[in-house]
């Protein structure tokens, strides 16, 4: 099947078109972020190239009719939220996956209870959380109710990643450590954790990104303070300006940087094994 040149050609072309479809909006957005300001609009043609809108993001230009995006506090809140969610979700996911290594009654129910967190549309989780908070009489805040529903969303991802890692994990190394008189807790810290570290890293990446970018759950569960996605959403209802595009470029670069950090750490953690394997081959 892979050898059929016509089919192959068609599929290659299709995939190329697909990639254009996938990336062209971002490319256009990036180009338009260099629109002149403050009079340039959010569409072609480019009057002349400038970094006006980037400077506007950081309040480096004189005030104009275009209001700056309300980003400062929102950015800090989103980062704090994403970091906390990342840690809590990875810890929870690892604990649950660890429990799933042994068969126990009700494992099916627990599995679907956890996975439900990624299967319920976000707007419903947000709505339910808002109703519950109102009913119980607690304030809706970004560090309270929003944090709770963010973990509901990211914890299933962490759990599935860790479950996949543990499925490929050889438990006899842990047993060996116990038989040396080392307690299960120390064994986890010194043996299990270093060996599942790639999974932990992936879980952290998932949790951070999903929380940093989370929007529908946050919309209802938050109080007056905005997170970054809420601040962006707020600009949708009014006329948009290229400053939003400039921000889009920066936040995308931030995502790429995050992926690069992840890839580097991942490479470092597997490089040792590979280097050793190569040496063995030579010897």
């Amino acid at each position: 099947m892979e050898r059929q040149p016509i089919l192959r050609g068609l599929l290659t072309g299709w995939t190329a078109l697909f990639l254009v479809f996938l990336y062209s909006p971002m490319v256009v957005l990036a180009i338009l972020s260099f629109q002149s300001g403050p009079e340039g609009g959010p569409q072609f043609p480019i009057e002349h190239w400038s970094i006006y809108w980037y400077r506007q993001l950081f309040n480096l230009v004189p005030a104009s009719s275009v209001a700056p995006l309300p980003l400062g506090g929102a950015l800090l809140r989103s980062l704090a939220l994403a970091l906390t969610t990342m840690v809590v979700s990875t810890v929870l996911g690892t604990m649950t996956a660890q429990a799933f290594r042994r068969h126990f009654r009700g494992s099916g129910v627990v599995f679907y209870l956890v996975v439900l967190g990624m299967m319920v549309p976000g707007v419903l989780v947000g709505l339910g959380m808002a109703l519950t908070a109102n009913y119980v009489g607690i304030d809706r805040t970004w560090w309270g109710t929003v944090f709770l529903v963010h973990v509901v969303y990211t914890y299933p991802f962490s759990f599935l990643v860790m479950l996949a890692i543990f499925n490929r994990f050889d438990r006899s190394v842990e047993e060996a450590a116990w038989s040396l008189g080392v307690s299960p807790v120390t064994t986890f810290r010194r043996i299990t954790f270093p060996l599942i570290f790639p999974g932990v890293l992936s879980s952290m990446l998932f949790a951070f990104t999903l929380s940093y970018d989370e929007f529908p759950r946050t919309l209802f569960a938050s109080g007056g303070d905005l997170t970054l996605p809420l601040a962006i959403y707020g600009t949708f209802s009014v006329e948009i300006h290229p400053n939003l595009f400039a921000f889009g470029v920066l936040t995308t670069l931030f995502s790429f940087a995050l992926l690069a950090v992840y890839a580097t750490l991942m490479t470092l953690s597997v490089r040792r094994a590979r280097r050793v394997a190569v040496q063995e081959e030579i010897a």
Binding site: F104, L116, L131, V149
Partner: protein, 305 residues
């Protein structure tokens, strides 16, 4: 140690007690590990969902609700054409989007998973298809605005190529723009899982079928399609969850012309109509539950991990 003495006097009872204690300690250990997650999900997911069902039967006043139980909000939903229209629109756009995602994404996934033999190239292509997942959702939505408008990039290019004489106005602020946006944003959830499943297919299986004289179509329907089915199911669940809960893409790209159930919920909450929003929420939940349960009957998700 009392157990030791006991064991000497009544050996059988002592054995049973100590074995039982070890088993109980294991069970306790498992539950200590599970408890935080289970409690978290129960309090922050299950309870809120139940709360939503409960509130859907509350009495709605103009700017407040009270807990007197009534079917008023349910009756209002099913007797108002606007809301029934919105339900129909939701289902229609969901089907269209899912079908387009399958039609566009599946061939790409098969190409990457099966036709690209170079491992590095395969991984790079897969990463390229999945990377947008890690970028901001709202930015990706808003990126369609300068693409689709009357002065947008698509119209400019089509005009320059001479394919059209007039800019197409139907591109932005219509249901087409909503579908285009949703397909582009959610297609990664289909390409990823399917490409993963397809890349796990043993190539010698296809070679063997070929040697036995099977046609390309036959190989596709007997080997590739069945083996990629779990990927399709997982992808469909993701896409359905996302599309059914959508409200941001329609509100950004349809200019208020397309109102999905999600948009109704947002509007109702905005005007403090919590009971009515809950009715929409329950309907969406039922729609979602039916879809997920039906899809999970095809594939056991737990076994695919």
């Amino acid at each position: 140690m009392s157990t030791t003495t006991q064991a000497e006097v009544v050996p059988m009872a002592g054995e049973a007690a100590s074995s039982g204690r070890a088993a109980r300690r294991q069970a306790l250990g498992s539950w200590m590990l599970l408890a935080p997650g289970v409690i978290w999900m129960t309090l922050c997911l299950v309870l809120p969902m139940l709360m939503m069902i409960y509130v859907s039967f509350w009495t709605q006043h103009t700017f407040s609700i009270d807990s007197t139980l009534t079917l008023d909000s349910w009756e209002a939903f099913f007797s108002t054409p606007t809301y029934l229209d919105s339900l129909l629109t939701t289902v229609r756009l969901w089907f269209i989007t899912l079908a387009l995602i399958l039609a566009i994404g599946y061939p790409v996934a098969v190409f990457i998973g099966l036709f690209v033999r170079n491992k590095t190239l395969q991984t790079s292509l897969l990463v390229l298809c999945v990377v947008p997942f890690w970028t901001s959702f709202l930015i990706r939505v808003v990126a369609w605005r300068p693409m689709l408008g009357t002065e947008g990039a698509v119209n400019i290019i089509l005009l320059k190529l001479g394919l059209i004489q007039q800019p197409i106005e139907a591109l932005l602020f219509t249901q087409y723009s909503v579908v285009i946006g949703m397909v582009q944003i959610y297609v990664v959830f289909m390409v990823g899982p399917v490409a993963f499943m397809v890349s796990r297919i043993d190539r010698s299986l296809i070679e063997a079928a070929r040697d036995l004289g099977a046609s390309t179509a036959r190989i596709f329907f007997t080997i590739i399609l069945p083996l990629s089915l779990p990927g399709i199911v997982v992808g469909s669940i993701f896409v359905s969850v996302m599309v059914l809960g959508e409200f941001a893409t329609p509100s950004a790209l349809s200019g208020g012309k397309v109102n999905l159930l999600g948009n109704i919920i947002v509007t109702q909450v905005g005007s403090l109509k919590w009971a009515f929003a809950s009715v929409c929420g329950v309907i969406l939940t039922v729609l979602m539950a039916v879809t997920v349960v039906a899809l999970l009957r095809i594939v056991n998700l737990r076994r695919e991990i």
